[in-house]
Amino acid sequence: MIGFEVETLIAILLGVARGATPLVFAAIGELITEKSGVLNLGVEGMMLVGAVAGFIAVVATGSPTLGFFAAMLAGALLASLFAFLVLVLHTNQVASGLALTIFGVGVSAFFGLGYIGTPIKGPQAIHIPVLTDIPVIGPLLFGHDIMVYLAFVLVAATAWFLSKSRWGMILRAVGESHHAAHAIGYPVVMIRFFAILFGGAMCGLAGAYISLIYTPMWAENMTAGRGWIALALVVFATWKPGRALIGAYLFGGVTILQLNVQSLGVDVSAHLMNMLPYIATILVLVLISRDETKIRLNAPACLGKPFRADG
């Protein structure tokens, strides 16, 4: 067996950040949606739509920035469809969310048909002269792509928004008791609508991270289930943004670790190793669920319940 070298360690840590970043975006988006009391299971579908929209935009314009904006727009657009269904037509949120995922898979495949195998040049990792060149710490702190940093900013902003800002508290109030919030005079449906849109935009961004940076290409179903992991992360994090970040990095870390163990030739079943990230997720979910108060204190009380102004 070959010993770990510093370069290997740096490569592992950079890989963890790349794997975790799309999960952070999608999980934060879903977290805001759920905090408003709406459960949107369409994360995977919105990610795919974002991935294909971002990709098409980059092929058309050559600008990754426009690509990310197009992805957010597409994700939000699909989310608005969901919002219309659950907020106006009062459809079942679980069924509508599942339908959204199936729809997103199909519609992204349809629009992406002409783009399969088209190569693009995605945005590269940043390189700040002097700083990035510092051994070990340089690449770890200053050697990621811009979205990795934005993910941290997003988490900090979301944490602040939810706990400190007026609108954040209103959002939580709507999620905790929509009737009370309505009685005080807050526009419940409107707030939920924007929360769903925000969730869609973040999922779109997560998808675009995969199709523009992680693996710069378009292929059907390329998110390969990461939307579901993001959904699980929200519960895993007990609806706290900081914990969602930790969860995403933990998941990314276990994934990369198992790949490293495999390639070093350690005698452990690859199947078992591949299960590890999922086992870790389930384990934490079980541990959290044991503590009932934790769930009860943080889970929005009105999560998944439809709201009728007259009710």
Partner: protein, 357 residues
């Protein structure tokens, strides 16, 4: 109501007869497991389909259905072809095996061709390419081009087909560079660009400077391009995903086989119960054009080995071959049989680690 029904039946019958009387082009159907795209496994099959169209033009009508899931969905598609008067159906994925046989039983007059399977019938043939011959040749390139002597391999599932590819590749590498070793990462998925990317990045992080893969996305090539190391493609020429990184690729060329089988169906000489396993000799396996970075002596080496394999004087698994625990598996003077190759379940010397089972 009764009259209307009778009229409808008559109309349908009349339509049917006119259609049958007109000289209709013979119809051939293809079933694809993934979208055609412009690179990869299904793309190569579609090139074969286009070769038939080019050759026969208006005399035949060739249709295809892409992204057909293995299992019941594929049975419906195959059944639909057979019912609609198609002369032959090409089912191009392993998981279409049982659906193909099931439909074939009901339509004994239709010719069925199933890629990569092992069950045949009076009207079902199977065909497969000797991918491993191509893997051996690109292994020679990898062995010559590596400087770190660590070569990475992103692999889908630990099944004999994939293991055979890893071993043939390693045999090629070790033929020119006995110090090199191959490290394998299993993704347990035929298609997960994200995971393939992670696996490729991991291998590069551990010092691999040439990568090869057995999975359906070009993520490995992209990872190599971004990291400034080399990579080797599979199925299709993937150079556009990494113009600097892509050294060459082992490519599958189904066209000659498809043209041959269609010709047989057209002139009535097609027979079932045949198994085809063609390679470099029949041009079913090819090596993609080389990157400028590959020096002339390496290209010559590949050409020479290719000629020797075609002539039968070189076999990627000619003894003595040891497994990676040092046990002799193929004694000197003998070569591995086709049957043993089809069931490959051990690593040759030079591959790091233990095969998952």
């Amino acid at each position: 109501m009764g009259k209307l029904k009778a009229a409808l039946v008559a109309a349908t019958l009349a339509l049917g007869t006119t259609a049958a009387q007109a000289e209709e082009p013979a119809k051939f159907g293809f079933v694809y497991v993934s979208p055609i795209g412009d690179a990869g496994y299904t793309y190569q099959h579609d090139l074969g389909r286009k070769a038939i169209e080019e050759k026969y033009g208006d005399k035949i009508k060739v249709s295809f259905v892409e992204s057909v899931a293995e299992g019941p969905d594929s049975e419906r598609v195959i059944m639909n072809y057979a019912k609609s008067g198609y002369k032959a159906v090409f089912a191009t994925s392993f998981g279409y095996m049982n659906p193909t046989l099931k439909v074939a039983k009901k339509f004994p007059k239709v010719a069925f061709e199933h890629a990569t399977g092992y069950k045949r019938a009076a009207n079902v043939n199977t065909y497969l390419a000797r991918f491993y011959e191509g893997r051996y040749l690109v292994g020679l390139v990898a062995g010559k081009m590596t400087k770190s002597n660590v070569i990475g391999y992103v692999a889908a599932f630990p099944i004999p087909e994939v293991v055979r590819g890893i071993n043939a590749f390693t045999q090629g590498i070790r033929a020119v560079n006995p110090d090199a070793q191959v490290r394998v990462i299993w993704t347990n998925s035929w298609f997960d660009p994200g995971k393939e990317r992670e696996a490729a990045d991991t291998l590069i992080g551990q010092g691999a400077d040439v990568l090869n893969m057995h999975a359906d996305s070009p993520a490995t090539i992209q990872a190599a391009e971004d990291a400034g190391v080399y990579a080797i493609g599979y199925n299709s020429d993937l150079s556009k995903f990494g113009p600097k990184a892509h050294l060459t690729a082992s490519v599958t060329n189904w066209a000659p086989y498809y043209v041959k089988r269609v010709e047989e169906v057209m002139n009535g000489t097609w027979k079932g119960n045949q198994d085809t396993w063609d390679g470099l000799k029949e041009d079913m396996v090819q090596v993609a054009p080389f990157n400028d970075a590959v020096p002339q002596d390496v290209r010559d080496l590949v050409e020479k080995a290719k000629a020797d394999i075609i002539a039968g004087t070189l076999h990627p698994f000619a003894g003595p071959v040891k497994d990676n625990e040092g046990k002799e598996r193929i004694p000197a003077g003998s070569t591995m049989s086709d049957g043993d190759m089809l069931g490959f379940n051990w690593y040759v010397e030079g591959v790091v680690g233990k095969l998952p089972n």
